[in-house]
């Protein structure tokens, strides 16, 4: 009698696993892009097509009905948003906030007022969109972004999540799948084959993660269409992922992420898919990257972002990031300075020489913060070069007469270190 139940349970499991199968990943990117854009056509023609891919009943400024599941999500996020507004790590710089909000409006057009951007001082490559239009943007992303087109690709991706109501879709998917799982688990326990219930749970988790990955692919494809409509070169969306891959590959023994349980597709897949789609836009090379504008917008804050990056103490990936920033060629003196700071703070064998070399390069490039002279002095002191250290400290005090550590530096000079 046991065998028929086992067969039935395995059949149920098979059905659950079948539900995991989605359309091919490449097709998800392409479909989302093409429903928003028309490959091979002029960019101007995208205008009429794109809004149609927002979910059918979504209107600008719309909130879900109070009785709906989604309304609960919105209320939770509304509460969380009040905390974000006063959060200690929010970047309040008005120029940067205005700049990012303008790009959001350029991408979102008639939905512009649905979004509030919160730039958070977190040194990770990340951004997110809540169902109520709260968009979080980490400064780690801004540091890694080369130009406005790359930023617009990220914003397009997040807006695509909102317009396709992915949070709501995931909620419904989770409810449906966990209900089915509960049934299978009960049935398998009743049949005395509890292991089948456990396998079904694993299959359900995998299925939910797979759904999440498909949402991400759709947001990538649709986001690409949105950024092209706003006049940005789509190849930059792929280039972001090339940068991420380069940083990732710099980490020795970096464990591979579990593809089955991951909520996002692999970076290599996203890089290739976005690259392929970009090549279908005929006049892409005439579109802009906005590199100068972008670099000007973050210039005053970038040093702070690099300082935050150092606090992660993930030296290999940070050095790879600094290499990329140096290749970009914006304010190289500042980058050499923070590379020197990495070596000084890491303080491994040979780091004193590496730090001194980096500071020298920074000084040769110019356009460096006064703080460099202090760090240079501290490192020269550690290297036993006391006279040179005192000179560096003196220069620091000349350039930063009101520095918070003036008294201490003065004391060190007078005491001959």
């Amino acid at each position: 009698m046991k065998y028929p139940w086992k067969t039935l349970s395995l059949l149920c499991l098979g059905l659950v696993l079948t539900a995991c199968q989605t359309t091919s990943s490449k097709e998800t990117y392409r479909s989302a892009f093409e429903r928003g854009a028309t490959p091979g056509k002029q960019v101007e023609n995208l205008d009429k097509k794109i809004p149609s891919y927002a979910i059918a009943d979504l209107r600008p400024g719309e909130r879900p009905e109070l009785k709906s599941d989604e309304a609960g999500l919105w209320m939770m996020m509304d509460r969380a948003e009040t905390g974000l507004a006063t959060s200690g790590n929010r970047v309040n710089d008005p120029q940067l906030n205005d700049y990012v909000q303008k790009i959001v409006c350029k991408i979102a057009r008639e939905y512009c007022k649905d979004f509030r951007v919160y730039i958070m001082r977190v040194p990770n490559f990340n951004a997110s969109m809540a169902p109520n239009g709260t968009m979080l943007l980490h400064t780690g992303f801004l540091l890694r972004t080369k130009n406005e087109a790359q930023l617009s690709a990220l914003i397009g991706h997040e807006i695509a999540h909102y317009l396709r109501r992915h949070s709501s879709q995931r909620l419904k998917d989770t409810i449906a799948k966990t209900n089915a799982l509960a049934f299978i688990q009960l049935a398998s326990m009743a049949a005395g084959v509890g292991a089948v219930g456990d396998m079904a749970m694993l299959a359900t988790i995998g299925s939910m993660k797979s759904f999440s990955r498909d949402n991400e692919r759709e947001a990538d494809g649709y986001g690409l269409a949105l950024m092209v409509r706003a006049g940005y070169d789509p190849i930059e969306a792929a280039n972001i992922w090339a940068r991420v891959i380069r940083e990732r590959d710099a980490i020795p023994d970096n464990p591979q992420r579990n593809a089955f349980l991951s909520t996002h597709p692999p970076s290599d897949e996203r890089n290739k898919a976005l690259n392929d789609l970009s090549s279908t836009v005929e006049n892409a090379n005439e579109l802009r990257t906005g590199e100068t504008t972008y670099q000007a917008a973050i210039a005053a804050l970038r040093g702070g972002f690099m300082r935050d990056e150092l606090a992660k103490r993930q030296h290999s990936s940070t050095l790879a990031l600094f290499d990329m920033l140096l290749e970009d060629g914006h304010l190289p003196g500042e980058i050499h300075f923070y590379r020197g700071e990495l070596y000084r703070l890491r303080n491994d064998e040979g780091d004193v020489d590496k730090a001194l070399s980096a500071y020298r390069k920074a000084l040769a490039e110019g356009n460096v913060p006064a703080e460099l002279y202090k760090s240079h002095g501290l490192t020269l002191k550690r290297a036993g070069k006391k006279d040179a250290a005192r000179m560096a400290f003196s220069t620091y005090l000349e350039l930063a007469p009101h520095a918070a550590d003036r008294k201490m530096i003065q004391f060190m000079i007078e005491r001959k270190l």
Binding site: R121, A404, M408, M412
Partner: protein, 200 residues
Amino acid sequence: MKIITATAILCVALTMGGCKAYTLAPAGKPIVVANAFKATPIIDWSRVQTNNVEIWTVDGPQLEKITFLSGIEDGSPLSPKHWLASQLKASTEGEASKFHKDMGSIEIAELVKETFNRSGYQKFTINNIQPDRFVDNDGVRFDFTFLTNSGLDKEGFAIATVIEEKLHIAIYTGTKEYYFKKYKDTVEQTLRNLSLKNGT
């Protein structure tokens, strides 16, 4: 029924046993602090100790507290889990900064700053670093401000010294609004009179 009650009491006792209890540090009575310092409180404090870390507070550690860290050895971090409530949902990646015996005053201030930053505190700004005396030795003092993750303004100062290649440090923090100022003078006076248990 008696068995259930006894089991419940045992469970509660075991749970409570896992908590470190605050005890009274009465005014005027000399005590040993963090296994290393001698102090005579000017007012009544509540104190709790974990290894070489001791915390004193009156109104609660979220409002104001003195943290004493004694004998931090070369290559050791400041062990923030014993004294600095993390503001992070997940632990910070990468290895924590450590004290090195060749660190100067400015680098010690940087170490404290990074320790706060890694625990999720925001906008940690050092306002003043100057030479000072601590437990009868040359050392450094610095004032600072920072924010909790929820945006609460806090203020503090630290006094530190390195003796026989070990770092000793006292950090006073409190809310910028009311509590920091409330005990600042008392704390300053207490720390001025602090000495090493075994002398130097």
